[in-house]
């Protein structure tokens, strides 16, 4: 597959090797479609990034494909090239995985920023060429702030394990609660407080830490997040056979699920409920938090920090790149947001009872070019709060 970005007069191309990698790309897109309605594309010198976010901004997913993913890759000269388009239109091109596998030999993706057009050309057998022209809109960069390396708890397991555990819960289940302690991991369905507790069936699955490839827990902990978005990642992971890692901290701070190999990395960042009445432990001993061994990260360096303030995302960092210590304003916002969470949750409950399931989830921070204002009174600015806890935060979170 080629990908050509035209910024100005220059042309940039990326090719995808046929078959296996093309199907991976298609699956990545399907996975992203489970998160949000729009696909955010960002071709850069060091790779192509595909992102999606859900409407309540409580789930974010990001696939980063290195140039090695492609047969030929030409980055746009203009670093600030990012766009978005309805994900359904891209999905339509890659809808039938079996026919992609069978008949497509090569796929070429071309981006023309002047005409705001994305052209996907499928070179099929027998000289058949299928060309799809999709329009996109320019947009701001979409980036959730999170630092998975600083999470106190890391679980890594083969996708089969995750899939098997998720099977015990009905497809309609919204939220799942994951608790860890010592040698065990529990998953149970989370019941909304306002639902009738005497009618709901409770399911709990207990796994031993031995079943995980990697199990590093800093303290007993319990987080609740939306299961539906997790399933999107699991479908991708299962087909790729890559182990899935889960990075998390205390309730309220986002959980990061990721898969990676030498040519791609996927991160799903999901908000967690900040108050969890099913917590197994109440201790928040951050002092004992040990840094988990990060999985080998050989992704290329990323120099997007020119237009993103809180690029704590060390998943894009190469060993040579040191995640810069963040401006204090970020930490300040994190603390601010945590104290206001309870108030806001009450507000939310009163006002937005029909909201999508994540009504109690505070939204993740989405980096904007402007430094976020400190006023957090209105809900519209809520989307600028930082929920990613950083390693220096020792405020008592409740």
């Amino acid at each position: 597959m080629d990908c050509v970005s035209t910024g100005g007069n220059r042309v940039s191309c990326m090719y995808v090797t046929y078959n296996s990698y093309l199907v991976v790309l298609a699956k990545a897109i399907h996975s992203l479609s489970r998160i949000g309605e729009e696909l955010y594309l960002e071709p850069m010198e060091d790779g192509l990034t595909l992102r999606a976010v859900n409407s309540s901004r409580s789930a974010f997913a990001c696939f980063m494909l290195s140039p090695l993913f492609f047969q030929r890759y030409q980055a746009p000269p203009d670093q600030a090239f990012h766009c978005k388009m309805p994900i359904k239109s891209v999905q339509a091109v890659f809808r039938s995985l079996s026919s992609l596998e069978r008949s497509v030999e090569k796929c070429r993706i071309q981006m023309n920023s002047e005409k705001s057009r994305l052209t996907i050309t499928l070179h099929c057998k027998h000289g058949l060429l299928k060309t799809h022209n999709l329009s996109f809109q320019d947009c701001e960069s979409l980036q959730a702030v999170f630092d998975k390396e600083s999470r106190g708890n890391v679980l890594q397991a083969q996708p089969r394990l995750w899939v098997d555990t998720v099977l015990h819960f009905p497809p309609s289940l919204e939220e799942v609660c994951v608790s860890v302690s010592g040698e065990r991991v529990w998953l149970k369905n989370h019941v909304e407080d306002d639902a009738d507790p005497s009618r709901a069936m409770m399911t709990e699955l207990c796994l031993s830490s031995e079943e995980f490839d990697h199990f590093a827990i800093s303290s007993q902990n319990s987080i609740t997040f939306c299961l539906k978005e997790l399933r999107g990642l699991l479908t991708f992971a299962e087909s790729s056979g890559l182990p899935v890692s889960m990075y998390f901290d205390d309730p309220g701070s986002p959980v990061v699920l990721s898969v990676s190999d030498s040519v791609l990395e996927a991160n799903f960042v999901l908000a967690t409920l900040s108050e969890d009445s099913h917590q197994h432990s109440h201790s928040n001993s951050k002092a004992e938090r040990c840094k988990a061994q990060p999985p080998p990260d050989d992704f290329m360096s990323d120099d997007m920090d020119s237009y993103l303030i809180a690029m704590e995302t060390s998943e894009l960092a190469v060993p040579s790149y040191e995640p810069a210590p963040h401006p204090c304003s970020t930490n300040h916002r994190a603390r601010l947001s945590s104290t206001r969470q309870e108030e806001e949750e009450e507000e939310e409950e009163e006002e937005l009872l029909d909201r999508p399931p994540s009504k109690k989830f505070c939204s993740l921070f989405f980096g904007s070019v402007l430094p976020a204002s400190t006023q957090l009174t209105s809900q519209t600015t809520r989307s600028q709060e930082v929920l990613a806890s950083d390693s220096e935060d020792e405020g008592e979170k409740q």
Binding site: H168, L205, L207
Partner: protein
Amino acid sequence: MKFRAKINDVGCLNHFTRVVNTITKLTKACVLRLTVNNVYFVLSGKVANGGVSMWCELLQVNFFDEYQLEGVSADSNEICLEVAPENLSRALKTAQNAKFVKIKLTKKHCPCLTLAAELPSLSSVSRVVTHDIPVDVIPRRLWHDFKEPSMPDFDVSIYLPPLKTMKSVVDRMKNLSNYLVVEANLSGEMNLKIETDLVSVTTHFKNLGNPPWADDASQGGGQSRPVEAMAHARVDIRKLQQFLNGQQVNPSKAMCNIVDQRIVHLILLQEDVSLQYFIPAVA
């Protein structure tokens, strides 16, 4: 009040699951009666479910390897619970390859039937999945509603045609009419009929055979009934369809008793489980 049971055998587990799945298709809520020898799923005929009633009886010892019951009192040594069979189905569904399944009556935030299954895992420590199914305990004064139904004074008793065949016939008839007439005689003939302003359709089954009940169980009044005479009852087709849709277990015997213009009584018998379903006739 205590109840504790365990299933070790995978075949028994599968069988039990299939029975529960059948009950789930028939009703959203039913009564679970636990006695020393049997487990019953009971639905008593009420206006809410269109007068349909159901009685499913399992011989406990053929399913459970361990079974301990302490009923409400010494002379009423049984437990009656109202439960949603769908929850039970869901809990059993993912436990099909379990090493064992334990069922226990517990009190969590409310009375629950707790199902715990030990599943095979990748490590030396097994995975354990626990389901807490909320139940309502039924007080003794209401138990009379859930007694075993007496055999109706039927006019005709006949063996049913293959359930699959019946199902496909009834499914297609449902598109044409809401009511269906079931009629049968003592010559082994059964008809399923629908009749509307535009069309009437009848499916005839022959040579079905009639079960040999004791002579005084039917033919009221001592008069012997002419073998060709049809007893018939007009029922809501959806009730019949629901019954046929739910069948997951192949019965060794399937029969239908008809009380003329009153009831269609369906009986499915198997070695360790029997299911009776009563559909009242409509005018």
